[in-house]
């Protein structure tokens, strides 16, 4: 049982890393698109920022589900 607990720690670390890769990529994409859109239409920058934060928050929410699983694994 002790052996498996250690594997759970490893899984938690790897899981957290993969989660952050995905989330980072996703939020990066949003940031890129928002920058592009702001450059194209500077007058709409306020709206773009708001929707950027909303979508980044939604991605973050999904990430936290994964991280919660990682935390649970880490303390197994």
């Amino acid at each position: 049982m002790e052996e498996f607990a250690n594997f759970a720690h490893l899984a938690a670390g790897i899981g957290a890393a993969i989660t952050l890769l995905g989330a980072g990529f996703g939020i990066g994409m949003i940031g890129k698109s928002a920058m592009d859109a702001t450059a194209r239409q500077p007058e709409a920058s306020g709206d773009i920022r708001t929707s950027m934060i909303i979508s980044a928050g939604l991605i973050e929410g999904a990430t936290f589900f994964a991280l919660a699983i990682c935390i649970i694994l880490a303390f197994k």
């Binding site: 919660a68 935390i71 880490a74 303390f75």
Partner: protein, 169 residues
Amino acid sequence: MYIVLANSLINVDPGLIIWIAVTLILFLLILSKFAWKPLLSALQEREGRIRESLESAEKAMRKAEEITRKNQDALKEAEIRAQQIRKEALEEAELLRADRMEKAKQEAHKMIEQAKNEIQQEKKKALADLRKEVTDMALQAASIILDAELDEKKNKKLVDSFIDNLPKN
């Protein structure tokens, strides 16, 4: 020890939840009743006043613009009218002058004509006088020269025919 710690991070404490819920509800009630309601209404009031004054300022500006435009229109109209009047006056003056000129010319003409007529009449009269005088003088002279040789009747006839043979004028 790990397990105890893990519990403390993501463990849900029902006692704390009850306390927090009670606190939050009280907090929301107190704050929304005693802080936000008057605060938001004050903000709204101020915004309303600002909007109102902005609107009234805009209205006043529009009114002023209207007045300015009206004034300008009136000015333009007046100018046009003045120009028209001046033009009319000029025309009238011209007409008057021409009329006067015409009249003067006519008068002058008339005067010349009259003078000519008078001169003509005077001339005629003078000629007639002259003829009579000449006749008389010739008659006298002839009578003096011829004396009684010829009677008066014959003489006169002679002289008349003489005069008639004289070229006229």
